[in-house]
Amino acid sequence: MVNKNSDKMEIIEKRNSNFMHNEELIQDGDEVVVYMSYGELKSLKIKSGESFNMRFGHIHHNNLIGIPFGSRVQATAGFVYILRPIPALWTRCLPRRTQILYTPDIGAILMYLDLKPGSIVCESGTGSGSLSHQLANAIAPTGHLYTHDIDKLRVTKVIDEFQTHGLKDVTTAVMRNVCEVGFVVENKADAVFLDLPAPWEAISWAKKALSKEKGGRIVSFSPCIEQVIKSCDVLRKEGFVQVETIEIIPKTMKSVELFNDNLKAFDKRVNVFTDSVERIIPCIKSNNYKNEKGKKRTFDGSVVEVNESELDECDDADFSLTTKTIVSFPHSQPTHTGYLTHATLLPYF
C-alpha cells in the first residue's frame, strides 16, 4: 500500500502486519484476531467490502481498516475487540486439522529445546501447525524450521498459513514419513521435536539430523505411557543423556468477589441462593432482605407485617461484607495432555 501526499513528494510504503512485523493500524489484507468474549476468538483476513458475521451481529471490514490494533469495535448487536495476531492467540483460534498442543506444553517444549534466533529445528508431525508457529517465532529470522507430515493436505495448509503470517522464509514444510526415510536435513539441526504415534522409530533418524559437532536437544510428546517406555529405551541406547519424562497439568482460574457474612447477616439474609457478588445489582446489595418497607417474607413465602422494633433489629446486620479470592474456572479442565520426554545428545565425531 502506498500513500502519496500531494503536498510532499515523500512516499511511505507500509507492509501488512503479521507475526514478524508490526504496524500500528489495520490494513486491507491483514489477518486479525477478533475477540468476542472470554474463550471466544476468531481469526479474520481483512478484505475491503466484506463483512463478518457472529453472534454479536456483523461488522463491515471497511470499518476496521485504518483503526489501531487493540481497538474496541461496535457491532450491530454488541462490541468486540480487534487484536494483533501472536502465536499464543493463534493457538486459541486456528483451524484444527488434528489434536493440537496448548500453550503450557508449548512453553515447556520451547524451553526444553533450548531455542533461540538462529536455531535449526526439525519437527514431525506438523499437525495443525500450533507448535510450528511458536517454533518459527522463536528461531526467526536466521534460524530455520523443517516440519514434516505424512498428510499432503496438512502440509499445503500450513505452507499457506506460514505465507500469510510472514514465516515463509524461516520454514520448510515437507510431506515425508520420518520413521522410514528420516528428516530432510542431516548433521545440521540443533533440536528435534517429535509428536508421532511411534516416536521410537524416528529417534535414530533424529540423531542423524542433529549436528555431530554441536550435539543438540530432542523432545518427544506422547499421550500414552507405553509410547514413553519404548522411546526412553531407544533414546538411551542411541546415546542420549539426561533422559527425563515429565507431565504438566495446568489449571486456569479467575478472581471473584464473594459474600463473607457474619452470623447475624447470615441469619437475616433472605436470598440464600446468590453466592457471587457479581450477580447482584450493586444498588440493592445491602437491602435484598427486604421486599418493601415494613414487610418481609417468611419461610413459606407469605408476607407479614413487621413492627418497628423488629425492623430496627434487622438494620443492625451488615449485608455487604465481601471477600475477593480466586477460584478454578471453568469447572472442567484438562487433567492430561501427554508426557514430554526430553534428552540431550552430546557432541560426537
Binding site: 472470554y38 512453553g107 526412553c232 541406547k237 495446568p250 489449571k251 560426537y348
Partner: protein, 423 residues
C-alpha cells in the same frame, strides 16, 4: 584430540561457568570454574583444573581428575544400552554358592556377630570400600565387589537385583556431565537448590511466560525481573541482537544478575539491553544528569557519563505518559516476574508504555497479587485475562517400573496474562 581454536565457545576456560551433574544424579549445580578449585557434586569430588582446555561434555573422574569420554564408546564398552548402568546380564552376575540359609546358620553359631540385618547381608565394610576407592577402583568395580559381598543377592527377584545395581551404581557413579549453561539448565539448578531466590519459578512456567508473550527477534519488551535474571536472560536470548529490552533495576547501575552473568552473552546480544533505574522511572528525570560531575574526572569518565545520560534520556522517551494509563505506548510486551514488589505499583507506572494489543504477563508466587492485578487489569482496559497455575511431575520410566517420582518439588507460582485494549 584435535587442537581447537582459543575462542571456541564450547571450550572450558578459567572463569567459565558450567553446569555440573552426575550421570543419573538428582543434583544439578551452576558453578564458576576458577583456578585451583575442587568441584564437589553428590560426594563426587574432582579437580576443577583438569577441565580447562577441554570441551563441555561427558567426563570420567579417575583419582580426582577428569578425563573426557564419549557416550558411544562407553555404551559399546559397557554393553548395557543405558549410560546409567554398567553391568549387563544382572541375573547371573554372582556365581557364589553361598545362600542366606548358610549365613543364618553361621549367625546362630557365632553369637558375637552384630545382629544388624543390613550388616549381615554385606560382607564388605565401609573401611574396605574406602580402600578400594583409594586404589582407583571405578564405579563398575566397586559395584561388582558389593554384589560379591552381598550374601542374599541371588535370592532377589530380577527387578530387585536391577534396582540394587542401579542404586549402587548411582551412589558410586564416577561419570559427570560438565555442560555449557543454558537458561533451561540454570533455571533447573536454581529451582532445585535455591527456589526462594527465584520466587519458585519452575522451568515450564518460565516457558509458559515466553509462549504467552509475543517476544521474538526485534521485539520491544519492558521487563521487571526479581528472579535472578532468568526472565531477563530469556528475553535477551529471544531478541537475538535486535529489538529493545528495557529492564528496571535498583540503585544506579544493573549489576550482579546471576543468570545474565552465567549466560555470558556477547556484546551484540547485550546491545538490546537498556537498564532503567527505579529512581529514573519514579521521577521521569535523568538520574545521572543530576549527579554532580566530579572535578577531577578523566576524559574517559566524562564520555561514559555522557553516554549514560544519552541512553537514559532515550529510555525516558520510550515511556508512556504519567497521567494517561490508556495511552498506546511503545512496547509490544510487558513482562513482570515479582517476588516482593506489589505488581499494582509497577502497573500504575508502566501500563501506559504498553502498546494497544500488547501483552502483559505477570509471574508471582503470591496469590494475593493475582487477585489485585486481575481487578486492576479489568479496570484499565485489559481483556483475555487469564490466571494459570500448574502441576508438574517427573516420571521414572524403566521397563516394568514406571511411576511418578514419589517425592519431588511441588512449589510454583501463578501467571496472569492480559492484552491491552483501547478504551
Amino acid at each position: 584430540m584435535d587442537k581447537v581454536p582459543e575462542d571456541d565457545p564450547n571450550l572450558i576456560k578459567v572463569g567459565s561457568y558450567a553446569i555440573v551433574q552426575k550421570v543419573g544424579g538428582d543434583h544439578i549445580r551452576l558453578q564458576k570454574l576458577n583456578k585451583k578449585q575442587k568441584v564437589l557434586i553428590e560426594k563426587l569430588k574432582f579437580d576443577g583444573e583438569s577441565l580447562f582446555g577441554k570441551k563441555y561434555g561427558l567426563f570420567e573422574v579417575v583419582q580426582g581428575k577428569c578425563n573426557k569420554v564419549n557416550v558411544q564408546d562407553l555404551l559399546q564398552k559397557d554393553g548395557t544400552g543405558d549410560l546409567e548402568m554398567r553391568h549387563n546380564d544382572i541375573d547371573n552376575l554372582k556365581n557364589s554358592n553361598s545362600t542366606c540359609n548358610d549365613q543364618q546358620k553361621e549367625d546362630v553359631e557365632g553369637s558375637d556377630l552384630e545382629k544388624n540385618d543390613q550388616q549381615k547381608r554385606q560382607k564388605l565394610t565401609h573401611v574396605e570400600i574406602g580402600q578400594l576407592r583409594e586404589q582407583g577402583a571405578n564405579a563398575a568395580d566397586l559395584v561388582t565387589h558389593l554384589i560379591s559381598g552381598n550374601t542374599c543377592f541371588n535370592d532377589r527377584t530380577i527387578h530387585a537385583k536391577e534396582k540394587y545395581v542401579r542404586k549402587k551404581t548411582q551412589r558410586y557413579q564416577d561419570r559427570v556431565l560438565i555442560l555449557k549453561p543454558t537458561i533451561r539448565l540454570i533455571t533447573e539448578a536454581y529451582y532445585k537448590r535455591d527456589p526462594d531466590r527465584i520466587g519458585h519459578l519452575r522451568l515450564d512456567q518460565l516457558g509458559h511466560i515466553m509462549a504467552l508473550s509475543p517476544v521474538r527477534y526485534g521485539s520491544k519488551v519492558f521487563v521487571f525481573d526479581q528472579v535472578l535474571g532468568l526472565l531477563l536472560s530469556s528475553v535477551i536470548e529471544r531478541l537475538g541482537s535486535s529489538g529493545t529490552c528495557v529492564t528496571l533495576h535498583r540503585g544506579s547501575s544493573l549489576q550482579g544478575v546471576p543468570c545474565l552473568d552465567a549466560m555470558n552473552f556477547s556484546e551484540e546480544h547485550l546491545s538490546v539491553l537498556y537498564p532503567l533505574p527505579v529512581q529514573t522511572l519514579l521521577t521521569r528525570e535523568s538520574l545521572f544528569e543530576k549527579e554532580i560531575e566530579r572535578e577531577n574526572s578523566s576524559e574517559r569518565s566524562k564520555e561514559r557519563r555522557q553516554e549514560k545520560i544519552k541512553k537514559e534520556k532515550y529510555i525516558l522517551s520510550l515511556l508512556g505518559p504519567v497521567d494517561d494509563k490508556n495511552h498506546g505506548g511503545f512496547f509490544d510486551a510487558l513482562l513482570i516476574a515479582t517476588r516482593t514488589v506489589d505488581p499494582i505499583d509497577l502497573l500504575d507506572k508502566v501500563w501506559s508504555s504498553l502498546a494497544y494489543s500488547g501483552t502483559l504477563v505477570l509471574y508471582t508466587p503470591n496469590i494475593q497479587h493475582t487477585i489485585t492485578s486481575y481487578k486492576w487489569l479489568r479496570d484499565n482496559g485489559g481483556i483475555n485475562i487469564n490466571i494459570v497455575d500448574s502441576f508438574f511431575r517427573i516420571h521414572q520410566i524403566l521397563e516394568g517400573r514406571c511411576h511418578p517420582l514419589m517425592m519431588q518439588p511441588v512449589t510454583g507460582g501463578y501467571i496472569v496474562s492480559a492484552i491491552k485494549t483501547k478504551k
